[in-house]
Every structure is written in structure tokens, then in C-alpha cells.
């Protein structure tokens, strides 16, 4: 306890103090600004209490963008520190904290919410639904995620960040070797955010299975919806493992149990296994929706239906099954013996087969198409060659014997960045540009979008290709410094230059957001890309009830066929619409989660218990609440439709 209190606020690092001051100033100016413009009521009514899937999606993406910059600054600091041998920008402890938070934030608080944000905005629209199955649960999911992210991010100013790597291997992450509260933050913030994700998984599974528009059978669903369905199945199976692992970790660190201890029957290898039993499917949780996004965009801008729809679905199902039987490839070097390593090598390499099928299907979708190079399409096209490098190096890593030489080296670091950046990051940026006009009613500027694209794509390769070579030259990951005699200097410098370029690319991307909000011409059609699936059939910006009349679906790409053959997707009169009502309960309950979690990090037992009771009080209140939603009258719907430019 003493050690915790001694460094409650981290004041001995100038960089952290500067960050702290800027956060305080930023927060204060935000509060003053909102108060000055009298926007508190608006914020509360329209955003904080909302259960609208589109607004929740927008909030997810907003947090993801902020986290992209937080994780990006971490990355720049890391590359800056290693750009030169014996560099003194960061000390070992600071570097260790930064690569840990970079990993956690980029995977769990950037990639995941960006994907879940797009999933929220798009999925109900694509299946012709008015909202998700459990709108209020959706709001709980978001706010749990948001407070989890908040809790994780305050660690670096209050108490110290986790410093045992994003995989937090035991015994390194145990109290004995990581005595600061950093890994308590890790366990508890991931636990809270993970609960939110698990709820999202259940929510979208039910939404997709039960709320599709009439006529939309499973095999008539858009590919993005398919990818989301499969992703949520993976979430529902994988996240409970993380929940259990984190609970055991918390008990080991705070209640003296010995699950992962080195003595008294504990087993450090158990953590590694549990972590990767969740961790590997997690990779596919962020990559399968990306495949869905690319399928939508490539087929839209090639002006052709997706090639091999059935094999696309089958390959995604195959990937999801295989994703659960490959986890031991993350530690071939643990000494399992030839038999175990061989089995996991083969299952891992098998993943290349369905992935390859998908690559060839995308290529054949382009065949005889009419390819236009819009910003979302550029990202999707760049994905194919770059991701293939990530894929083939993945097969190389899958070979157990060779992995004895790649494991823990920069080769591995290069590989997973070659998978995750063109795979997930390019996809969410492409999806962001693609669906932006649907939500806000105008497109992002194409010129700035393309400029950002070139910066990002070229810099990405400059930043990460050298790491393959460094890895083969024996440079291991997570080294905060190296001596000049190793010869690692020049390539690390090159990589740093690439990292700076990536940073510039992302700044252009955000500047584009600002520029387009101010100057971009507004779109009146609701279908600016001449696209194919149902979300483009309604107005843009989408009215809160999504569709005035629920569409009738008869084939895949129903909207495209309706446009081609001048058919109507809906018939009959407009009826009154049943909608869920807003609620502040999810926000308040998540606040209690945050308070309980924060107190638990510091082992302040009494407040922890009080706030935990508060959480249950909120749940009890919810159980006794009578809320059947409300109806939007026919006149109201007709009025909104007229304002948005005619019946849809």
C-alpha cells in the first residue's frame, strides 16, 4: 500500500506531467465550452442517454479515433527511442509502459471499438431493422467500454501504467515482479470493457438472427452482415475465457491466490494458454469484419456482385472454427515437444487456405468490373497486396521449427503489423469514408482522403518492412535500447521516418474530417456511391427510425436490383413506429463501474464494496422499471420523410 500511495500521481517524469497538464487544460476547456454554448442538455438528451444504434456507433468511433492518437503517440515515442542506438529519449521503465499500453490500446480500445462502431452504424441498416434487438443493453455495452478505456488511460498519470507487455505473461505480471498498480489497471479495465464487448456479442447475434427484413434469408445477407454474425459468435465463445483469466489474475494479485504463481502448485504457463485461447480468436474478431467491409467496398466500386458469395461465407466459418485451435502457436518455444508443435503448425497453416480463397474471390470480383478509385476503394485495393505479405509471413511463422528463430523478434512485430494495419486499420478507415455520408449526409473530401491514403500506405511500408530484416538479424522486440555494434541503427531510423509519415497521414485524415464538416457539399440522394445493400435505400442522414416502411427483400443486393429494374422495396401505407426510449441508467451504472474499478485497483475495499452495491442497485431499479418504449405517429413520420426529401 505504501508504494501505491507514494506514487499516486506520477510527478517525476516531465513528459507525463506535460501530458497531465494538457489533459486537464483540454478537459477544462471542454467543460467551459459546453457550458458557454449551453450544450449540456443537448449532450445529455441526444448522446449520453441515447439508445440509437447509429449514435452509439458514432460515439464508439469517436473514442476509437482518440485512442488511435493515444496509441499512435506511444508508437512514435517507441520508434523515436529506438531510432538511434543508445538513445536517451525514454528510460527502460517508461519504454516498457509505453509498449504495453500501445498494444492494449491499439487492439482493445482502437481496433475493437472502431469495428464495433461500424457494426453498430451499419448492421441494423443492412438488414432493414429499426434498431438492435436490445437497444438499452447496447448503450450499457458502449458505456462499459468507455469507462474501461477511461480507467486504462488514467493509469499513466495516477499510479503508473502496466508494464508487463500487452500479453501480461506471468510470473512477470505477478505482484512479486510488477509491484505497482499498473497490472491491476490492466486486469480491471479490460474486465469492464470486456463485459461490454460480451454484451455486444449477444446483442448483435440476436439482432442478426431475429430482426432481418422479411425475405432476407441468411444467404441473402450482405457480406458485411455475415462477417459481423460470425464475429459475434467468436466474441460469445472467446470473451468468457478472457473474463475468467482476468478474474484469476485479479485474485492472484490482490487476494493472494496462486493460480499463476511459480510455487505452491501454481502454473505460469496456464496464463499464457488462457490468454491466447482468447487472444487468437480476438485477432479474427478484428479481422473478419474487415473482410466484410472490403467485400462491400470492392463490389460497390467494381460495380459487380461479389464473386463466390457462398465460398466467402464458408471460408469465414472455416476461419472462425480454426481460430479456436491454433492458440499454442504463440508459444512453440515453451517446449511442448514435436507432436504438439506439429499439430498446431498444421492447424495454423490451414487458416491460409480459406484466407487465400477470399483473396482470389476479391480479385475475381474485380475481373470484368468497372473499377473507380475512390478513397475507400484505394484502401481496399492497397489491402490486397500488403495483407498478402502479412499472410505469407504468417505461414512462415506457423512453421514451428522456423518460429524458434522468429519468436519474439522484430520479424514477428513486422508480421502482425502487416496483418493488422492493412487488415483492420485500412478497413475501418475505408469503412469510415464509405459510410460517413450515410450517417452525416455528406462525403469526406476525396482529394484530402487520397493524400492521406498515400501518406499512410507508403509510410506504413517504410515503417514496417525494415523490421522483417532486423528480426532476421537477431533484433528482439521490446528492447528499449541496443548498442551501436549490433548494426541495427540505420534500419530503425528508416522505420522511425515511416512512423512519422504514418502520423502525418493520420493528421491529414482528421484534418479532412474538419474540412469536410465545414465545406463539403451536402448529399441529397442518400446513395452517393451508387451502392448495393439496404442501408443506402433510406435517407442520408438516416432518420432515427431508419426506415419509414420496412423493406421487402427478394434477392442478394436487393437495393441494387431495385435500382436497376425500377422496383419499389416497400409497399403499403406508412404505419406508426414503435421505438425504444432513451435512458440515463446505462451511463450512471457505468459510472458506478468506473468508481468501483478505480477503488479496486488501489485495493480500497470499503469504497469498492459501496460502489459495487450501487451497481446492483441500478440493476434492481432497471428490473422494476416499466418502459415499453413509445410510438412515432404516422403524421410525424410523414413530416420527417417530407423534410428529408420525399418518401423512401
Amino acid at each position: 500500500m505504501e508504494s501505491h500511495e507514494q506514487q499516486f500521481l506520477i510527478l517525476n517524469e516531465p513528459m507525463i506531467v506535460a501530458a497531465m497538464i494538457s489533459i486537464v487544460v483540454g478537459a477544462l476547456s471542454l467543460v467551459i465550452g459546453v457550458t458557454y454554448f449551453k450544450k449540456w442538455g443537448y449532450l445529455w438528451r441526444e448522446w449520453i442517454t441515447t439508445v440509437d444504434h447509429k449514435k452509439i456507433g458514432v460515439m464508439y468511433i469517436l473514442v476509437a479515433l482518440v485512442m488511435l492518437f493515444r496509441g499512435g503517440v506511444d508508437a512514435l515515442l517507441m520508434r523515436g527511442q529506438t531510432a538511434m542506438p543508445e538513445n536517451g529519449l525514454l528510460d527502460a521503465q517508461h519504454y516498457n509502459e509505453i509498449f504495453t499500453t500501445h498494444g492494449v490500446i491499439m487492439i482493445l480500445f482502437m481496433a475493437m471499438p472502431f469495428i464495433i462502431g461500424l457494426m453498430n452504424v451499419v448492421t441494423p441498416l443492412q438488414i432493414g431493422a429499426r434498431d438492435v434487438a436490445f437497444p438499452r443493453l447496447n448503450s450499457v455495452s458502449f458505456w462499459l467500454f468507455a469507462v474501461g478505456a477511461g480507467l486504462f488511460n488514467i493509469s499513466f498519470i495516477i499510479g503508473g501504467s502496466p508494464d508487463a507487455g500487452w500479453s501480461a505473461y506471468f510470473p512477470l505480471a505477478s505482484l512479486e515482479f510488477s509491484p505497482t498498480v499498473g497490472n491491476n489497471y490492466y486486469a480491471i479495465s479490460l474486465q469492464i470493457a470486456g463485459l461490454g464487448t460480451l454484451m455486444t456479442g449477444i446483442n448483435f447475434l440476436v439482432t442478426i438472427l431475429k430482426m432481418r427484413a422479411p425475405g432476407m434469408t441468411l444467404m441473402k445477407m450482405p457480406m458485411f452482415t455475415w462477417s459481423i454474425l460470425i464475429t459475434n459468435v467468436i466474441i460469445v465463445f472467446a470473451f468468457p475465457v478472457l473474463t475468467v483469466a482476468l478474474a484469476l489474475m485479479t485474485m492472484d494479485r490482490q487476494f493472494g491466490t496462486k493460480f499463476f504463481a511459480m510455487q505452491d502448485g501454481g502454473m505460469d504457463m496456464l496464463w499464457a494458454n488462457l490468454f491466447w485461447v482468447w487472444g487468437h480468436p480476438e485477432v479474427y474478431i478484428v479481422i473478419l469484419p474487415a473482410f466484410g467491409i472490403y467485400s462491400e467496398i470492392i463490389s460497390t466500386f467494381a460495380r459487380k456482385n461479389l464473386y463466390g458469395y457462398k465460398s466467402m461465407v464458408v471460408s469465414m466459418v472455416a476461419i472462425s472454427l480454426l481460430s479456436f485451435v491454433v492458440w499454442a502457436h504463440h508459444f512453440y518455444t515453451m517446449g511442448h515437444g514435436v507432436m504438439v508443435n506439429s499439430v498446431f503448425s498444421i492447424t495454423t497453416m490451414l487458416i491460409a487456405v480459406p484466407t487465400g480463397v477470399k483473396i482470389f474471390n476479391w480479385l475475381l470480383t474485380l475481373h470484368k468490373g468497372k473499377i473507380s478509385f475512390t478513397t475507400p476503394m484505394l484502401y481496399s485495393l492497397a489491402f490486397i497486396p500488403i495483407f498478402t505479405i502479412g499472410g505469407v509471413t504468417g505461414v512462415m511463422l506457423a512453421m514451428a521449427s522456423a518460429d524458434y528463430q522468429y519468436h519474439n523478434t522484430m520479424f514477428l512485430v513486422a508480421h502482425f503489423h502487416y496483418v493488422l494495419i492493412p487488415g483492420t486499420v485500412f478497413a475501418v478507415i475505408a469503412g469510415f469514408h464509405f459510410w460517413f455520408p450515410k450517417v452525416f449526409g455528406f462525403r469526406l473530401n476525396e482529394k484530402l482522403g487520397k493524400l492521406a491514403f498515400w501518406f499512410i500506405t507508403i509510410s506504413f511500408n517504410v515503417a514496417f518492412f525494415p523490421l522483417f530484416i532486423l528480426g532476421l538479424n537477431g533484433m528482439t522486440r521490446r528492447m528499449y535500447t541496443y548498442s551501436e555494434s549490433t548494426g541495427y541503427g540505420p534500419l530503425n531510423m528508416l522505420s522511425f521516418v515511416g512512423a512519422v509519415g504514418l502520423g502525418i497521414g493520420f493528421i491529414i485524415l482528421v484534418y479532412n474530417l474538419y474540412w469536410s464538416i465545414r465545406y463539403s457539399p451536402r448529399d441529397e440522394t442518400g446513395d452517393p456511391w451508387d451502392a448495393r445493400s439496404l442501408e443506402w435505400a433510406t435517407h442520408g442522414p438516416v432518420p432515427f427510425y431508419n426506415f419509414a416502411r420496412i423493406p421487402q427483400v427478394n434477392e442478394l443486393d436487393a437495393f441494387w436490383h431495385a435500382k436497376k429494374h425500377n422496383k419499389q422495396l416497400w409497399s403499403g401505407p406508412i404505419e406508426k413506429i414503435h421505438m425504444p426510449s432513451n435512458s440515463g441508467m446505462p451511463f450512471l451504472m457505468s459510472g458506478a463501474f468506473f468508481a468501483a474499478g478505480f477503488c479496486l485497483v488501489f485495493s480500497w475495499w470499503i469504497p469498492t464494496i459501496i460502489f459495487t452495491i450501487l451497481i446492483f442497485v441500478f440493476m434492481a431499479l432497471r428490473s422494476f422499471e416499466q418502459d415499453h418504449g413509445y410510438y412515432v405517429s404516422v403524421e410525424e413520420v410523414e413530416r420527417i420523410e417530407r423534410e428529408l426529401g420525399g418518401d423512401k
Binding site: A92, L363, H367, M396, M399, Y404, Q405, G474
Partner: protein, 346 residues
């Protein structure tokens, strides 16, 4: 020695072949005049790969093996890179073809792309061919894994030199039970003799790695893992912990020196005669110290703190029982000397 040189020249040969293939790919693609981005991407990829593999003057550590096990791995890696280049080539050619041929600017205003469902035949083809590649790579993986998990090729009939390597924050302790000596942060071994490293850790998981002699393996607290290797050429090689284990991780390097049998014997005698004995209290103090330089001792810590192997050491845990089974699986051939060694200890 002869073996080594013949292997090396074979390696050079494969480098040259690969280079030719790479430059051919590149030239072909440039001639076709693909868009700047693609050209750039391909160029950088192929030149980087060429640089990696052709660097004969200053070769990359992993591809510059000095012993049979590292050589097996290097050969496996180079072979897999060639296969992967082939796959990349197919994808890139198809990709470039589609992008060049079917861009909207070339297709005319009123061109309407056809509705194509897919082709069962094509889809079966690009399922079967990857499966064949995976089968091929699987065979190689199983073979090479088996090879590096047993006594090095060409040394099967020799008794290995056993060296225990234990990590503690942030040092490596090397114990030679046969010779009765111990070192810290450096390890010497004779060339042309198989060496069996037995790894364990006093603390977080570490990974023992001498890239030019063998692939890495974890050192853990609950049980012993093994690395088999042999050095063909005398020399000084970089060894390090490659698994992050806290603040002193970056500095956790050691020197692995392979020397002729005569030099090695001389060194062992030297240490035996001049170095101090390692007492238990001294060893405990050593474990507590974060960083130390090189140390030599004329006795080993195994006498009072045995390695966590077998059932009669330390507390019997589930982990140990599992590990014992795993060891049987990993190296059945070395069981005999394993037991022999334990008897010697007692």
C-alpha cells in the same frame, strides 16, 4: 569442417538462384508499366528480400548459421521464403492485371459489368492448390522440428556436453555439472561436440537464444526445457534472452564462445584452478543482484539448488508432472543420460 563448407556453398547457390528469380520478377513487372504504387511496393519488397538474402559480406544472423541445428532452420526459412515469393508473384500478377485492365477510365461510359456468381471449378482450384502447399510445408515443418529437437545431425553417436542455463533478473547462470564449474553471463563450449542446454528460470519466463547456433526456447521456473546444438566453427556468438522480463531485459545478453577442444579443456582447467567456489549464500546474493559482469566459479549451484527436473526436486506440482511427460516426448533418446546425470548429482 568439410561438412560446414559444403553446406555453406549450397546456401550461397540458393541465394544466387533466388536473386535471379527476384530480379526477373521485378524486371517483368516494370516492363509491364504498372502504376507507381505497385511498382514501388514490389521493388521495395524484392530489393529488401534480395538485400536480406544476398548480403554475403554481412549476412543476417539467422541466415548465417554456425552449427547444424541453426543450419536446418536457416535452410527451412530460405525455402519457405522462396515458396512465399511464388505465392506473392501469382497474387501480384493477377492483381496488377485486374487493376490495369478493368479500370473505369478504360471501360467506356455505358459498360455494364456482368453478373457473375462465381465458378465452382475455379474456387475448387484455389482451395486445392493452397492445401497442397500447406501439406508440403507441413511435412517440412514436422521433419525440421524433429531434427532440431534431437541431437544435431552428424553428432548422433557422441555423448553431449550438458550445460545448465538458468536465468535470474537479469543474468544468465551456466553450470557445467561434468566439469564442476559455473559461469555467469558467458558460456564456452567445444566445437564439433553436441551440447545440450537445460534451461530454467529463477523468476519470469525468459527465452534462451543463440541465433547462429540454434533456435530459442523458454526457460521457466517449474521445469527444465532443452536445446540441442553443436557449433561447427570456433567463434564468438551473440546470445540473449529474447522474452521480455522487465526493466533490465535489453541488457540481458551473454557471449557464447565456441572453441577447439584443446582450448576448451585449457579454459576448464583454468577456471577449476583459479576461480573461487560458489557458496550457497554467495549464490543467493548473486540472484538478488540486478546486473553483474562475467563471473567464474569452481563449483556449481546445482549441488545445493538443483534444477527443477524429475519428481524428487522441490515441491511436486502438476506442472512438474506434466513437464516430465513432455520431456519424455521431446527427447526420449536422452533419457538414459538424464537419469545417469541425476544419479551423479546425488
Amino acid at each position: 569442417m568439410d561438412r560446414y563448407y559444403s553446406r555453406l556453398s549450397a546456401l550461397k547457390c540458393s541465394n544466387v538462384k533466388l536473386l535471379t528469380i527476384c530480379s526477373l520478377f521485378t524486371r517483368q513487372l516494370i516492363r509491364k508499366g504498372y502504376s507507381m504504387k505497385k511498382k514501388w511496393l514490389l521493388l521495395s519488397a524484392f530489393f529488401a528480400m534480395a538485400a536480406v538474402l544476398a548480403g554475403c559480406e554481412n549476412p543476417l544472423m539467422v541466415l548465417d548459421p554456425k552449427g547444424p541445428n541453426a543450419e536446418t532452420l536457416s535452410d527451412t526459412i530460405i525455402m519457405s521464403i522462396i515458396v512465399m515469393c511464388g505465392i506473392l508473384f501469382v497474387v501480384y500478377v493477377l492483381y496488377a492485371y485486374m487493376l490495369v485492365k478493368y479500370r473505369a477510365s478504360k471501360m467506356g461510359e455505358d459498360y455494364e459489368p456482368p453478373h457473375v456468381h462465381g465458378s465452382t471449378k475455379l474456387e475448387i482450384i484455389w482451395t486445392i492448390i493452397p492445401i497442397i502447399i500447406v501439406v508440403f510445408l507441413s511435412v517440412i515443418t514436422v521433419q525440421s522440428t524433429k531434427e532440431v529437437e534431437s541431437k544435431p545431425l552428424g553428432y548422433e553417436d557422441q555423448e553431449p556436453l550438458v550445460i545448465y542455463a538458468a536465468s535470474s533478473n537479469w543474468k544468465w547462470h551456466f553450470s557445467y555439472p561434468e566439469e564442476g564449474i559455473e559461469t555467469v553471463n558467458y558460456v564456452n563450449m567445444p566445437v564439433d561436440r553436441p551440447v545440450e542446454f537445460r534451461l530454467y528460470s529463477y523468476g519470469p519466463i525468459t527465452s534462451f537464444w543463440i541465433p547462429q547456433l540454434a533456435g530459442q526456447k523458454y526457460a521457466m521456473s517449474a521445469h527444465v526445457t532443452k536445446i540441442h546444438l553443436a557449433a561447427d566453427v570456433p567463434g564468438s556468438y551473440m546470445g540473449r534472452n529474447s522474452n521480455f522480463n522487465g526493466a533490465g531485459y535489453a541488457q540481458m545478453e551473454f557471449e557464447a564462445q565456441a572453441m577447439t577442444a584443446a582450448d576448451y579443456d585449457e579454459w576448464v582447467n583454468d577456471v577449476k584452478n583459479t576461480a573461487p567456489e560458489l557458496t550457497e549464500s554467495e549464490f543467493d546474493e548473486l540472484l538478488e543482484t540486478d546486473f553483474v559482469g562475467r563471473q567464474s566459479y569452481s563449483s556449481t549451484h546445482l549441488e545445493f539448488k538443483p534444477a527443477p527436473e524429475g519428481h524428487h526436486h522441490g515441491t511436486p506440482t502438476a506442472a512438474e508432472e506434466d513437464s516430465a511427460e513432455e520431456e519424455m516426448e521431446t527427447a526420449p533418446s536422452s533419457d538414459a543420460d538424464h537419469f545417469h546425470h541425476q544419479e551423479a548429482e546425488e
